[in-house]
Subunit: 667 residues, 2 copies
């Protein structure tokens, strides 16, 4: 029932092809991550520069400019990718096809890690903005985070198209709101009413005062690394190309451009307004001279919240709440990018046998449910471990992004080189050369940024990612090797299997009751070459009683008693079967186990489970078939009619519990 | 390996009869509980009287006298029980045979609860005495408690006789030590050197000062109830009669008398010395004026510790440490009484089908292992929930004891009445009349005490027991009813079962590999009337590929494709089988499921488990046999040789891992 409520009715497999997205829906779904990251990118730059004191804040525009340039390069590069590889493998496919399997796997590992972090960071930042508007929620930060992860999981288990509809409105609302805020703020400034942030009068206690030379350069590079969070998720579109309408590649490229333009406009505008309104923010609020309230417990307002309050006239204005609400929404929905990307990538990796096959199974609603649940669990664990702190989580971020950026662009360069070998007419050669130039520049630029990010973020938590990506890499290779080995081992014999010459039936008997009688009847009906009933003597009295009853029933089947001085069940049976096998190695042994099927889980507690354990032990013996002959207790049929009459899926499909039984169907 | 270390090598079933106990070993095993309770009985009386202030302590001798009288009555009564019922059912057997099933079940519930509390209280009191000697252990109280429960579990899993040997020495050492301490203390007093307790100069802040009338009577009754803890475990011998040597009844009765005499001597002596040495003790140390150290964190010394220190010359004397060590030992070993009694009672109840059958299974060392483990778990949970506090745990105690005392004695009265009807010669009639008088007096006395205990302890925690005993009663009746129903349902048909007319074999195929080939070969070898291979179409491409391979292999078995638009496995198969059954209701259907057996648990994660789920679903269909055809992957045979070559029990029996394989045994 719960599952049906959350997930909805299952979809038929043939509905799959209809789940395609027009550009205006694809943009909010895939671009909500890069668009939403403008809410924290500026803030992260300011946070780092603040470590050096107020004086260093004048470096902000230059750092922002570098980020914008990087963004342009990445967008241009990925426009090439989506058109050259419209199958949705994205960076993973580009890297593995051009740079080899191992490069592809590194990219895959990096992307998987980054999808998880996208969920964690976006949800955490969204909750930050909610708390900026409603500070009294601060004590419940982690709980609110986890609730949102849960909600996202539920929404995504319901399927792609509903996600699109759900997410388009808030994304566009946010973009419109921010653009209006920027225009309004700039207009106010030009009109002479410069907006002033609530923190403008704070002084910052510099943790690293008077930096010069290398130390200064390091601080600037750290600020730049943090600003690069604006780029996260830029590759999401390249992994989602198959979800676009045709022409998929071109539509994806256009969506990419729109996303880039919006990102740049919003990021630049917010940074500009932050400087105009003199927003002050610090990693530790206790470093802010003038911060009201307890700097231990109270939370600082996010940069975007402070700007909105300054532009729209205070933290009770409608504009402030509008921006906070849409910012929180888009951030939490940005996590949805990962909920689209992670399961898709997981399914591709599972198809290539690098991940467990279950990730390739589509759920009731045609989504890759297992991937969705896996992503949600890991992200929730991260949020819990890092107390839902955006600033701490963001330290782990971006490394994966730039690993995949760099490898993907490098792969594209090789791709163009191969194209160049076959391209003949000047126009296409020109196109290829231009593409190669863009991607080569992109590869170099993102490669440098990767090194910068690695150096500046390593000690802050990024080392975890540096450990995680190679681990994932090795794990995926091991999984692939395992599948390969099993596949080779199980490859069918072309000659077919030798037919066993005879069948020996062995019926396990503990006491003579209806299940045993049924097992004996079924065994007889199968007309084996030999038929023996065996019982294990654990208790002399019981065994003698069984022998007495056996004889009184005149069953015409010999009852063999196996001694078990140590009161074991499995050993005597296995030894007996080994002996049978030794005597006639070409035969097959069919072990019948009478079982009774109970209707309630607790009934299992009341019946010895030795038969089950014996069954799993027998499976390790070659040339043995284990036959379960079930006897359905009334509790399994009558009392639990409503449960057992349903097959998996009934509840979700809305098939009523008490279907009329077809007549003529014996029970 | 761990199990072998803890439990030891298994015993053969035929060793069972040798596990009988001579009286000198039976006394410490079964009487350690009543003997050990003298360590806390006096203390519990003083604790309650202290609530009224120092003035009320002069009531102690009268309360102690009442307890001694009660002890004499109970010992005399139970001497009758063990001789009349030497089968070891004890109070349970007496009550159910004479007062009916329901009375017996109430007794059984009460005894089960009390065994658990015996473990919890005795271990907690033992740790109290350890902490009296080594106060720095106080912060680790609960942990130490749990470690002792674990140790007791291990010792008892090793078997009865070893327990006897292990427990005889400390019990006798304790008895000797206490008797010497009493004699020495009295001698000192007579010689004019009255021993003085360290707490003699404390003043007690009376929580209930100036009590009179009913309130006073209530306090006295509460003190008496607490003193009755001296009687706990008195019935243990009656439950353990079968473990005695012959003549079992007489030997048990003599042990009972010895136990009673020792109990009375020690309890009286300790109470006398506590009064002479003016021991002061309070439920809350903060009520003691003069208590040194923090009354919040420090623990009071137990009464017996204070007496030992006073008699033997301080808390660094050898005598003090000897008494504390043996008191702690006997208390912790007293818990062993319950480890003997609980599993035995559990096995009897399981034999009578009031508890799950597993409790009737003897483990490797012929002990009722499941009962031992169950007892340990519940007792550990209680200790954890009550922070290992003896005073709080003791509130739950005694109700069960007196419930079973009263019902048992009442049952004995009816027993004698019946005997009287058949007894003819005057000597035996006299004997029966005397027995009836003793038991009638015992029933009345213990009945009154039960009411007193119920009233005075109810609010202090005893209400939990008042809830638990009826719950256990209802549970046991429900279990019995379930077993009865199943038994009736499964009673063999005298006519035998009708043989099914034909066998339809259905082989489930997902892909054509060696396991499928083997399943097909085995199915063919069984020569069914019809043989069909079926596959479920979840993915069109894969199904077409399977059909292609199928045809290329020329298998001469039709491959039926079942559609599954909702990507389910179970439903199409079950529907197909239902249809087969409708078409030929008198036939049996044999479903072959190819399985591959993996060697490591994690390999299961990499393979879809849909076959397993299908199997358990098919068991609910009537007239279906489910045949598992295992294919052993190399990892299950080669790599895990050492694990899979061993059968359950090997490790414990010391069979080496790499046994030479018998030649001629094909794999």
């Amino acid at each position: 029932m719960l599952k049906r409520l959350v997930v909805g009715r299952p979809f038929r497999s043939d509905r799959l092809s209809h789940e395609l997205l027009p550009k205006r829906i694809a943009l909010p779904i895939f671009a909500s991550d890069p668009l939403s990251s403008v809410t924290y990118a500026t803030q992260e730059i300011l946070l780092i520069l603040s470590l050096g004191g107020v004086a260093f804040l004048h470096l902000t525009p230059w750092i922002a400019l570098a980020v914008v340039v990087l963004l342009v390069v990445v967008v241009l590069s990925y426009r090439q990718v989506v058109q050259a590889y419209p199958t949705g493998g994205g960076s993973y496919e580009v890297a593995s096809q051009n740079l080899g399997r191992n490069a592809g796997l590194v990219v895959a590992g990096a992307l998987l890690v980054d999808y998880v972090l996208t969920v964690a960071v976006s949800v955490a930042a969204g909750v930050d903005n909610i708390i900026s508007a409603l500070p009294e929620l601060n004590p419940h930060r982690v709980l609110i985070n986890l609730v949102f992860v849960l909600l996202l999981t539920a929404v995504n288990l319901r399927g792609v198209r509903e996600s699109g509809r759900t997410f388009a409105v808030p994304t566009y609302a946010f973009v419109a709101g921010v653009l209006i805020m920027i225009v309004a703020g700039l207009a106010e400034t030009l009109a002479g009413h410069r907006p002033v942030a609530e923190s403008a009068h704070y002084d910052i206690h510099a943790e690293q005062a008077g930096l010069t030379g290398l130390a200064l350069a390091f601080l600037v590079l750290r600020a730049f690394s943090s600003g690069c969070t604006a780029l996260t998720g830029a590759e999401a579109i390249s992994n989602g190309v198959p979800a676009f309408r045709k022409p998929k590649g071109l539509n994806a490229a256009r969506t990419m451009t729109a996303m880039g333009a919006l990102s740049i406009a919003m990021f630049s505008g917010i940074t500009l307004l932050a400087l105009i309104a003199q927003v002050r923010i610090a990693e530790n609020p206790c470093d802010l001279a003038g911060f009201p309230g307890s700097c231990e417990n109270a939370a600082q307002r996010t940069v975007i919240a402070q700007i909105a309050a300054a532009v729209f006239g205070g933290d009770h204005s409608a504009g402030f709440f509008y921006i906070q609400a849409t910012a929180a929404l888009i951030l939490i929905l940005a996590a949805n990018t990962a909920f689209n990307g992670f399961p898709l990538l997981g399914a591709i990796l599972a198809r290539d046998r690098y991940l467990p096959r279950q990730l390739h199974t589509r759920g009731d609603r045609l989504t890759f449910s297992n991937g969705i649940v896996l992503l949600a669990m890991v992200a929730a664990a991260l949020i819990y471990a890092f107390d839902g702190s955006t600033t701490r989580l963001i330290q782990l971020y971006i490394i994966g992004v730039f690993t995949s950026f760099t490898l993907c662009q490098a792969g594209m360069v090789r791709h163009w080189n191969q194209e160049l070998r076959t391209a003949t007419d000047p126009a296409s050669r020109r196109r290829v050369r231009r593409g190669r130039a863009i991607n080569a520049f992109g590869a170099c630029f993102t490669g440098v940024v990767l090194v910068v990010v690695l150096i500046t973020k390593f000690s802050g938590g990024a080392y975890l990612v540096v450990i995680a990506i190679p681990l994932l890499f090795l794990l995926m290779r091991a999984i692939r090797r395992h599948y390969q080995q099993v596949r080779e081992e199980l490859a069918p014999d072309e000659t077919g299997t030798l037919l066993p010459s005879r069948v020996h039936a062995v019926v396990l008997v503990s006491t003579l009751h209806k299940p045993t009688q049924r097992a004996l009847a079924f065994a007889k009906a199968a007309r084996p070459d030999t038929l023996t009933a065996i019982t294990i003597n654990v208790d002399d009295t019981e065994t003698r009683e069984l022998q007495r009853v056996w004889e009184s029933h005149d069953l015409a089947i010999p009852l063999l008693v196996l001694e078990s001085p140590y009161r074991e069940i499995a050993r005597p049976v296995v030894n007996y079967i080994k002996k049978l096998r030794r005597d006639s190695p070409r035969d097959v042994i069919c072990v019948y186990i009478p079982e009774y099927v109970v209707g309630h889980w607790w009934e299992n507690l009341l019946h010895n489970q030795s038969a089950l354990r014996l069954k799993s032990r027998l499976l390790f013996e070659p040339a043995v078939m284990v036959v379960s002959v079930p006897w359905q207790l009334r509790s399994s049929t009558a009392r639990n009619l409503e449960r057992l009459d349903r097959l998996p899926g009934d509840v979700r499909r809305g098939i009523p519990a008490h279907r009329p039984r077809r007549t003529g169907q014996p029970r």
